[in-house]
């Protein structure tokens, strides 16, 4: 095959891998709201920590 065909294949593979990495990172970093059935929560007191 011509050299530029290989170049395109390599670029496409890199782009796909980078896209997959970004998708995984977005999923790992995605925020949520977790209900903790065991948590007492308790009164918070920001600013009271010494």
């Amino acid at each position: 095959m011509e050299w530029w065909v290989w170049l395109i294949i390599v670029v496409v593979v890199i782009a796909v891998l980078f896209g997959a990495f970004l998708a995984v990172q977005m999923r790992r970093r995605r925020g949520g709201v977790i209900i903790d059935p065991s948590g007492s929560g308790g009164p918070g007191k920001p600013g009271d920590q010494s």
Binding site: L22, Q25, R28, R29, R30, G31, G32, V33, I34, I35, D36, P37, S38, G39, S40, G41, G42, P43, G44, K45, P46, G47, D48, Q49
Partner: protein, 195 residues
């Protein structure tokens, strides 16, 4: 305020160092008090951190950042999450409520949770409590697909997939945050009066 407004906020120390960002909000099923936050590192390449931020260590929850004294405020993630396998009975498990179905105690599906409403109150101590769900309404509320705000009772009930609310919560549904605080108070007063 909506929980989605808090997630992804940077966590900043009093010395101005940007050390993390909020990933998840963790709240208690028994009362809805926010117990803390799980964290992710800063930058696109960073993943979730193995430390969490307890609410008691938060110095301030501002519009643009969560303020802490320093990185000593962080605690091991298990402490923030409370290891449910050790302390919870009945096989209850922690679960992300976003996407969960809301059911009334008479078995009516009210919709799916798309966000959570959090109220910060200061009565000497600063409390952060979950007071409502923003739901994508089902047919039962008469406006299917519309986003609506549903007040919550003091004590929440949830399983892995379903969040339970009293049937009377339907009467206190609102469409925007203005007046929602009053709706929550009225709803809880009504529940209190029934006890």
């Amino acid at each position: 305020m909506r929980a989605s407004a808090i997630t992804k906020r940077p966590v900043v120390t009093m010395s101005g160092e940007d050390v993390a960002q909020v990933k998840d909000i963790v709240y208690s099923a028994g009362g809805g008090a926010v117990g803390g936050f799980t964290l992710a590192g800063r930058g696109l390449l960073a993943g979730p951190m193995d430390k969490g931020l307890p609410w008691s260590s938060v110095k301030g929850l501002g519009a643009d950042a969560v303020m802490i004294a320093d990185e000593d405020a962080f605690e091991p993630l298990d402490q923030v999450l409370h290891t449910s396998s050790e302390t919870a009975g009945g096989g209850a498990a922690r679960a992300d409520v976003l996407g969960s179905q809301v059911l009334t105690d008479d078995g009516t599906d009210l919709g799916e949770v798309v966000d959570v409403i959090v109220a910060v109150t200061d009565d000497g101590f600063t409390h952060c409590d979950v007071v409502g769900y923003e739901i994508e309404a089902s047919e039962a509320l008469g406006q299917q697909g519309t986003k609506m705000l549903l007040p919550l009772p003091d004590t929440l009930s949830a399983s892995g997939e379903h969040l339970m609310v009293p049937a009377s919560a339907r009467d206190f549904v609102r469409q925007d945050l203005a007046g929602f605080g009053a709706a929550v108070d009225d709803f809880r007063n009504q529940l209190g009066g029934q006890r």
